[in-house]
């Protein structure tokens, strides 16, 4: 049938056949019509049909040419045709839709689908047309022409330096970044700005990650970096030519679609095209013929978690060029570490310094299955005890969780790809509540307050808040850790990761936590230095911590449960100071936290603007804030919060602690 369709499309039959049918329909009317009537009968519908047809044909051809150009410039769906690659067992989500419309629909609404899209009107979220953005001395002029998105680089002298078409988009939830295709192949180069969806604002791509302000500009190619997780079965095929790097990248499908989790489906589809096989395959064991179902009822929880872990983990790649050429070889149901040409790292098993000699390196590789990834690689991505500190790598956290190690917990214990009630986190029904934990920990459900020591419906009785606090960073926010853990002062002293108690009781010091954990849970009190005994733990981290710690501390100052537990009228002064942080991501988070204070809800701050503009904005906000402060009434200063009686930060204390800040350049890039 597709041959018939192609013939109609290509031979102009799309116009000729309707015209003939129209002729047949009007023929009877000609039998007793006079000459003029006959001519009118013949001419009018034909002229109408041809006129409309011509207009539509022109429009279609223009659209088709535009679409064809877009497809040629991207890796979109190159491998979908089995004629081009007989070994290709992937078929695309469209073929799944026919039999699984419900699952297709739930996937279609998810952010997984829209992770990578062709740059078309339904994909591009940014305010594009007419926007001007600075780029060094030059400027970028953005235009939308029909369904096409274009960017013109205009030099300081007003001369056009380049005119490029936008080809692909990444992300559709918090942030959207853009790619410009390469004329020589299908290499995707980054557009220098990203679109902050909630803010409806542009920001330089560098400022959408937590990166050192002195780091090199982002120049990651989609084909080399994003392809593995933002498409299905991608093969980068990047090579060096005289013109530089070129790509002949192939993917089964852009975005994360059905076959990323269920495996290639050609055999499954061929089998179930036969109605008899569909009838006999009604029982679940046979229904999965040729594909995998990561549901933990049907797959071991470890392998189920690996399906998500193929993307949601930090992996170490022993042979990057090979992986780049062939793509990851993991298929759902397989062993991630054995098949993926990479190893999901578990740094809790090797948090020590990198090997110092060849012999030590060999010994390390033999015992861990991969070489040591390097000290910096580890410290930028993991807390010193091996807990992952960047979001999107939840599988690394799960690996070290007792519920996974000793129980049967997998990602799908709480999340559901097809039965979620909110596409933000894709949690299964009721999994946003304590039911997530009490589905196994039944004893705690019965005696909740005895365990939590907090009121039953309070934030302190939420399992998530104590055992999965927001200690990972990503997407200009703090995100819940996916390593199930319990609050521990000792762990905080060892790692610098603020414990869950102090992330809610942000006005309390570690000695307060020490006392409560000792009293309630029989923890052995940890030895504390003078500052930790005296000063709010979160405030100490905001002043002394590294950029990642500062981001998390600032975020919690705006977190509503923390403001309710700790008061909401003392954070503004500290957050105003944090608007001067050298890391743009920390400034962004501090601004959002500042807006949680009703007095400063409308405070304007362009976190990525030049210093002069930022300083002016900070000064204005500070003035507005100070006008609303109470007069000095002799109220005692709050020493654990380092504020005076009026609520202003005690500058001398602030400077003293900032002098001890961990200024190690770091990158937390999800």
């Amino acid at each position: 049938m597709s041959g018939v369709t192609a013939a109609i499309d290509s031979l102009g039959l799309e116009i000729i056949i309707p015209a003939l049918l129209l002729l047949v329909a009007v023929l009877p009317f000609l039998l007793n019509a006079n000459r003029n009537q006959a001519l009118g009968l013949l001419a009018a519908p034909f002229l109408l049909a041809l006129g409309l047809g011509y207009l539509k044909y022109q429009a279609d051809h223009t659209a088709a040419a535009s679409e064809g150009e877009l497809l040629r410039a991207t890796p979109a769906q190159v491998r979908l045709s089995p004629d081009a690659d007989p070994g290709n067992a992937y078929t695309s989500s469209q073929t799944c839709r026919a039999c699984h419309p419900g699952e297709y629909d739930s996937w279609h609404k998810s952010y997984h689908r829209t992770m990578t899209q062709l740059a078309k009107p339904d994909a591009v979220l940014a305010k594009w047309h007419g926007t001007e953005l600075p780029l060094g001395q030059a400027r970028l002029h953005l235009e939308k022409k029909g369904d096409e998105y274009w960017v013109t680089t205009v030099g300081a002298d007003g001369i056009k330096q380049a005119v490029q078409r936008l080809t692909m988009t990444t992300g559709s939830h918090h942030l959207q970044v853009y790619w410009v295709g390469d004329k020589a192949g299908n290499m995707q180069h980054p557009f220098p700005y990203g679109w902050l969806i909630a803010d409806q604002k542009w920001a330089p791509v560098e400022d959408t990650f937590l990166r050192s302000p002195h780091g090199a500009p982002v120049d990651a190619k989609w084909n080399k970096v994003c392809i593995e997780c933002h498409s299905v079965a991608g093969k980068a095929a990047v090579s060096m030519t005289r013109q530089g790097q070129t790509a002949r990248t192939e993917v089964a499908e852009l975005g994360i679609s059905c076959e990323a989790c269920h495996g290639p489906a050609r055999e499954h589809i061929a089998h179930f095209q036969n109605p008899f096989n569909r009838y006999t395959g009604r029982d679940e064991a046979k229904a999965a013929h040729g594909i995998k179902n990561p549901d933990t009822g049907k797959m071991d929880h470890r392998k189920s978690a690996q399906v998500c872990g193929q993307c949601h983990s930090y992996q170490f790649t022993p042979n990057p060029p090979k992986r780049l050429a062939q793509g990851p070889s993991f298929l759902p149901g397989g062993d991630l570490n054995a098949a993926a040409n990479a190893v999901a790292v578990q740094p809790s098993k090797f948090t020590g310094a990198p090997p110092k000699s060849q012999a030590e390196a060999r010994q390390f590789a033999a015992s861990h299955g991969h070489p040591h990834p390097g000290g910096e690689w580890l410290t930028d991505r993991f807390w010193p005890d091996g807990m992952v500190r960047v979001t999107g790598r939840e599988y690394n956290g799960l690996l070290d969780s007792p519920c996974f190690q000793r129980g049967k917990m997998s990602c799908l214990s709480c999340h559901s790809m097809h039965d979620y009630h909110d596409r933000n986190d894709q949690l299964a029904p009721r999994m946003e509540t304590n039911a997530a934990c009490t589905q196994c920990h039944e004893d705690i459900r019965e005696n909740l307050t005895a365990h939590t020591k907090h009121a039953a419906n309070s934030a302190g009785s939420s399992c998530y808040n104590c055992h999965m606090p927001h200690t990972t960073y990503g997407l200009l926010s703090a995100i819940r850790s996916h390593q199930i853990d319990s609050p521990s002062v000792a762990a905080q002293l060892k790692t610098g990761r603020v414990n869950a108690c102090n992330l809610c009781h942000i006005n309390q010091s570690l000695s307060w936590t020490n006392e409560h954990l000792a009293e309630w849970y029989k923890h052995k009190p940890a030895e504390l230095n003078t500052e930790s005994k005296r000063i709010s733990s979160v405030l100490e981290m905001l002043l002394k911590g590294d950029a990642g710690q500062r981001a998390i501390a600032a975020w919690h100052m705006g977190w509503e449960p923390a403001r309710q537990a700790s008061g909401g009228d003392w954070q503004a002064g500290w957050l105003l100071r944090t608007l001067n942080d050298p890391y743009s991501a920390v400034r962004y988070i501090a601004h959002k936290a500042l807006q949680a204070d009703p007095r400063l809800a409308k405070a304007e701050f362009d976190y990525a603007a030049p210093l002069a503009k930022r300083t002016t904005q900070i000064q204005k906000t500070r003035t507005d804030w100070e006008k609303q402060l109470p007069e000095q009434t002799g109220v005692a200063q709050q020493i654990e919060l380092l504020i005076d009686g009026q609520g202003k930060p005690i500058e001398a204390e602030a400077r003293r602690l900032e002098a001890k800040r961990n200024n190690r350049p770091m990158t937390l890039q999800e």
Partner: protein, 166 residues
């Protein structure tokens, strides 16, 4: 002389005798449109039911050309609409033929309605089917142009029919 009464058997035979046939009444002349629409209606019904069976087979065997609809459903929707409209219009042709003798339509009206109905039966489902065989993204193919033309013929037929019935 007594008149002999007929026996019971003779009476019974007399009662069951078929009365002599009256001279045959002349059958009303069949209208030319009647036969034409019966033939056209049944044949087109056959064709559109065949199309329905074909679409069913595509569904049963999950034929990719029909089932893998891409990001839009236009392709399948057009073919299904073609099948449904074709079948209904075929039945309308049969009903028209069956009722023609009782409608007392004026000759010119009858001829016009017949031609319009025939044209509509070709163009409405034809437009849908041709529009579904080739699609341009979410838009149907050029054949869909036949649809409004066919719809116009159908409206004329129905209007003239409604006005002309006596």
């Amino acid at each position: 002389m007594s008149k002999q009464k007929p026996t019971r058997r003779e009476r019974s035979e007399q009662q069951t005798q078929i009365p002599p046939a009256k001279p045959a009444a002349t059958a009303p002349a069949r209208l030319p449109e009647e036969l034409r629409h019966f033939r056209f209606g049944w044949w087109s019904l056959f064709v559109f039911v065949c199309l329905g069976v074909l679409l069913e087979a595509f569904l049963a065997f999950r034929v990719g050309w029909y089932m893998d609809t891409g990001a839009n459903e236009t392709h399948r929707l057009m073919l299904r609409l073609g099948h449904a409209h074709g079948t209904l219009l075929s039945l309308m042709n049969i009903a028209f033929a069956a009722g023609l003798a009782r409608m007392n339509l004026d000759g010119a009206v009858r001829q016009l309605v017949s031609r319009c109905l025939t044209a509509a039966t070709l163009l409405v489902p034809g437009g849908f089917i041709l529009g579904g065989l080739v699609t341009h993204g979410a838009e149907p193919g050029l054949g869909i142009i036949l649809l409004p033309v066919g719809a116009l013929f159908l409206l004329v037929a129905l209007f003239k029919l409604a006005r002309g019935v006596r």
